[in-house]
Amino acid sequence: MLGERNHLWDIRSLLRRDVLRIGGAGFLGLTIPKFLSASNQGADEAAWPVRAKSVIFLFQFGGPSHVDLFDMKPDAPDGIRSQFSPIGTSVPGLSICEHLPKTAKVMDRVALVRSVHHTMKNHNSASYHALTGVTPPLDDQRLRKLPDLYPAYGSVVDNVAPAHSGMPTFVSYPYVIGDGSETPGQDSSFLGKGFDPLLITQDPNEPHFQLPELSIPANLSHDRLTDRRRMQQLINRQSRLLESSAEAQGLDETYEKVLSMLTAPKVREAFDLSQEPDQVRESYGRTTYGQGCLLARRLVEAGVKFVNVYFSKGIGGQSTTIGGWDTHGFNNTRMYKILPEFHLPITDQTLPTLLLDLESRGLLDETLVVWMGEFGRSPKINGAVSRDHWPSCNTVLLAGGGIRGGSIYGASDKHGAYPERDPTTFGDIAATMYALMGIDPETQIYDRLNRPLPIANGRPIRPIIGQG
């Protein structure tokens, strides 16, 4: 009597299970309704073909000096002109800092956007802006991490276009960055915990580096875990919750996945840097950042879609051995000493190595590498022969993943103080990244109050995107 009816219900529940399975494909994500809402938006594939399968986002916390690195002004007067000299690059007519000679040789793979500007003078507000593409509600040295702020790029990608590789969509390391308080924009925020990055705060340069989640306590063996899972499954069969409840099915899937990750090799291997030949490890540099970039390459190879690598935990700028790019010259330090002794050698060892390594493996075409800080530095050299914060103009590097190598978009004025041509925002950079990933930058996500919001407040920079 209820045959027909049951049949029809069954089709629906079958469909739902299907959705569940797909929804569970993300790593930390298992939120069916959100998955549905994402799939309903249906990014227009014709408009934005997938050029970049993955993004490696190298965040240079503290704010590197654009006028000393990639937008030098050799004709500017004393007090403004960099103490570094420019050198030629593999792009005719393009010069960059003399302390980046290896980087100079790969500039034909890189696009420079030299007109990025905003108004946030504090690290936390500016970095939130850089890490999400969205203007923060206020310029605050301790910008509060409120749940209505935007999610990190990787969390957005996890929400609207998750990885189906059995790998996490979004991985982030080796720090949670902050300036006095945690910088917002590093996690899923209003999208919900299911879209948080897999966060690793271990140092990939440590000899026994591994994913902490994959280590099991000494008293547990794989066999014992398998036994436990078997018992758990028997108990689950008694209540029959799995038959009726999507929540129970979703929960059980996380156990299936966790147990297989603890016992199966794929994920473990992706995080295992010891599998790399010493020569490769050396080429990236035996630094936290260098090995972090190597790890990023391994992760995108294994199918991770978005990797955030943070150069430093804090803003730094006063040490030649540790910290970020915030070189004010405080406490009698000097930017022109710190950069060539610390930041620039590491950068010059790592960035070109990463690009060439990706290229030699055929991955550069499908991997977008983005290198940027939260702002540039003041054209005027300050009393401590260093430079202060400068959000009004900055340079962003993009390479691979559909980027037209050797292109330059926008220009700063004669002192590098303000955009002179094609002013660009972080929103435009965000839209460009999404577009290259095949995600319509106007795709909507929903905050906790269910308000529709576009993933990017800007437009893709078409001139730096290559043909076909």
Partner: protein, 740 residues
């Protein structure tokens, strides 16, 4: 009256409609052209209704500002969008018909009704009827709700516009139809076609009015199969009436074991002990369930658990309130639940609160909400169930609230100010941090500025009320009187919905703080009946809980068939949800017999007793494993006045913690000593297994489970590791982690 000859055939052929009663002689910009912009989707948020417009063409969001749109269409760029000399060559017609490239695609055909309306308007030289003689007064949609049985169901919706001069017009063809659940499609003519079974709301919109139509599409079934289930109280009366209409059977009652577990978790957040469980099950008094509910309501843990819920909502967190403030505020909330303070008094005290945040704990409500707009938004959401946020920047697109409403409401809160005695914040650069006493007081004057007009707002209450606010008298005292008064039924309605959600797991309006014209309750009669009951009881929270939990609806069993959304939406079967962070940690702590420690609190404190979010700890000290566990499982930071801030999502990192995380491992290993004690006290392995089942799952093991557990324990000489494995399997089971 001259009827436009052009429209009748189009309307009749396109929609098969009866000709409209009246139709304007001339095309009206406000009534016709604006309707086309909406119908064709031009003024949606993703199109020209975007804050920045699209392609340089900006319309007001969903047509909220016709005057602006008129200028945008006719005047901007020297009127390049229209060509009244050769109307068909206007961009306004060429673009949406894709005769000229249009990123938004083809919106309508040449010669469609939309096209004809715009063309006629342009032919008439694009006039502006700035002052309508008879503006739209009301929108009527038929049917308002309907249940349709059988495959391929469809319904014709009809929309009628009533104008202020008493004339009406059939606007079915020009109304916009937006289904909330994507189980239907709607044609341009308002025919709703079923794609899948289930329940949905279709929002019907014409100009600035919108109405919901509630539709259910169900498989054909014989209504004589409907089980007449005896109803216990008004909850069941209304739930069963709706179920009968949907031909869905209520689930049979849950077993004592399942009921007991559910009642403990929902009311006090804890599991019953093995002794409590066995006693209850063997008790043969017929009214034992009702007795149990009353006993639980009298327990101190009830106040703890409900104070936790309200501490989340009232933003009880250390950075704004400081540790002392958090503890005082928590204590005050807990006391309110312990003595069953009527909800109207509770809310009146919060809204009218002022004075020292140390000595008048309710004043922490305002200490946490630092500006008028946040106070206004939070209070609307919390005490009226209304999300007003949208109306800050534009009229609410899905509800009646205008920017005037928003700023008028915000103005009520504009005079709150703080006297800071000695803010000893640890980080002088952190403007969000406050340590030290504050006094909340009212400035003698001060208004918020209306963002649209730039003028001072004048205060108004939210909703249909005749009562005006005297801006020269104490505004918040007026508000605290009004909000709980007879005038404002929405207060009781929203609080009933909140309590219902906390027990049932799904609001009658869902999300619970999103009452909106376009988000109707799943069972309006039920909501109104509960609201009456709540008001008549004098806003008695325990009486409301008592009523709901004694219903068959609350006490229903889950059953084994897959749960359909429509069953959950109509309370035919219980909601299954993951236990909250605090519930899981307290439960594991209870069943392993191991206390969990939290930074800054004495040992023995349960997770659901923690007053705040993060206790003060020495700089750089890691949060304790217990604190970290709570964050991973979704304990909110208490920075939003929203139930939605607490996350019940299931994530892999949670499962990693449960499977092999150090805290779980420590608790389970610690339990080994407990198990050893049981063994050395002479209990048999069999007895211990049975005990573990009652402790963790509130039931006896099945034979299969007994056999499995005994076999596993006998694999080794020592049965203790085997029992530890069993305990692991029990606390990781669905039955343990899910409320069912």
């Amino acid at each position: 009256m001259r009827v436009l000859h052009i429209f009748i055939p189009i309307l009749m052929t396109l929609a098969g409609l009866i000709p409209c009663d009246t139709f304007a002689d001339e095309i009206s910009f406000r009534n016709d052209v604006m309707a086309v912009f909406a119908k064709a989707g031009c003024n949606q948020g993703v199109c020209h209704g975007n804050k920045f417009g699209k392609g340089g063409f900006l319309l007001s969001l969903r047509g909220q500002d016709p005057s602006f749109d008129f200028l945008s269409v006719t005047r901007e760029f020297d009127g390049r969008r229209i060509n009244t000399q050769d109307p068909a060559q206007s961009l306004l017609l060429l673009k949406p018909t894709m005769q000229v490239e249009h990123l938004g695609g083809k919106r309508f055909q040449v010669d469609s009704l939309e096209y004809q309306i715009l063309l006629r308007w342009l032919e008439a030289d694009a006039p502006h009827d700035a002052q309508l003689e008879s503006p739209l007064a009301k929108l009527d949609v038929q049917p308002a709700e309907k249940t349709i049985f059988g495959a391929e169901g469809q319904v014709q919706l009809r929309a009628t516009a009533c104008f202020s001069d008493g004339t009406t017009r059939d606007v079915t063809r020009l109304a916009v139809y937006e289904p909330v659940e994507q189980i239907v499609t709607v044609t341009v003519d308002g025919i709703v076609q079923q794609e899948a079974f289930g329940e949905t709301t279709v929002i019907v919109r014409y100009l600035d009015r919108q109405l919901p139509v509630r539709l259910a599409f169900l498989p054909d079934s014989d209504d004589s199969n409907w089980n007449k289930t005896p109803s216990t109280n008004i909850v069941d009366d209304h739930v069963f009436a709706k179920l009968k209409q949907l031909r869905l059977n209520p689930a049979p009652p849950a077993s004592d074991e399942v009921f007991l577990r559910r009642a403990f978790l929902d009311l006090i957040g804890l599991l019953p002990t093995s002794t409590e469980a066995r006693q209850f099950v063997s008790d043969d008094q017929p009214d034992k369930r009702e007795q149990l509910i009353d006993e639980l309501l009298d327990r101190q843990e009830y106040a703890d658990f409900w104070a936790l819920k309200w501490s989340d909502l009232l933003r009880n967190e250390e950075k704004s309130l400081d540790r002392k403030g958090v503890e005082n505020f928590h204590q005050w909330i807990k006391q309110a639940f312990a003595e069953n303070m009527p909800m109207d008094r509770f809310v009146r005290e919060l809204i009218s609160s002022r004075g020292s945040t140390y000595h008048h704990p309710a004043a922490n409500y305002y200490r946490a909400l630092r500006d008028p707009l946040t106070r206004a938004e939070s209070s609307a959401q919390l005490f009226l169930g209304i999300r007003l946020q949208c109306a800050k920047c534009h009229n609410h697109p899905f509800d009646r609230w205008t920017q005037d409403d928003y700023y008028g409401w915000a103005n009520l809160f504009s005079q709150v100010n703080y006297k800071l005695f000695d803010n000893t914040r640890k980080d002088r650069l952190d403007k969000n941090e406050f340590i030290g006493e504050q006094v909340v007081y009212m400035l003698p004057k001060g208004n918020v500025t209306h963002a649209q007009t730039g003028q001072s707002a004048s205060s108004r209450f939210l909703g249909d009320t005749e009562i005006a606010v005297d801006d020269d008298a104490d505004r918040l005292l007026q508000l605290s009187d009004w909000i709980v008064s007879q005038e404002n039924r929405q207060f009781a309605r929203s609080q009933v919905n909140r309590i219902w959600y906390q027990l049932i797991g799904r609001g009658i309006v869902e999300p619970i703080d999103d009452f909106r014209i376009t988000n109707p309750p799943s069972n309006p009669a039920l909501l109104e009946a509960l609201t009456d009951y709540f008001i008549e009881s004098g806003f008695d929270v325990r009486a409301m809980i008592h009523l709901i939990m004694n219903s068959q609806t609350y006490q229903a069993s889950l059953g084994n068939r897959p749960v359909e959304p429509i069953e959950v939406e109509n309370y035919a079967r219980p909601v299954v949800r993951r236990l909250s962070a605090e519930q899981i940690l307290d439960a594991v702590s209870q069943v392993t017999g191991q206390p969990v420690s939290f930074n800054g609190f004495p040992a023995g404190m349960r997770a659901s007793q923690l007053p705040g979010v993060r206790a003060i700890r020495p700089r750089d000290q890691q949060p304790s494993p217990g604190d970290q566990f709570l964050v991973t499982f979704g304990k909110p930071q208490r920075l939003q006045t929203c139930e939605c801030e607490r996350s019940n999502e299931t994530t892999l990192s949670q499962t990693f913690q449960m499977v092999s995380g150090p805290l779980m491992n420590e608790l389970l290993s610690g339990s080994a000593t407990q198990i050893e004690l049981l063994i050395s006290s002479g209990r048999s392995v069999h007895e211990i297994i049975v005990e573990l089942y009652w402790t963790t799952l509130t039931r006896a093991p099945t034979n299969e489970e007994i056999n499995m557990a005994i076999a596993h324990c006998q694999e080794a000489a020592d049965s203790e590791p085997g029992l530890e494995d069993l305990l692991w399997a029990l606390v990781n089971s669905n039955e343990f982690l899910l409320r069912h």
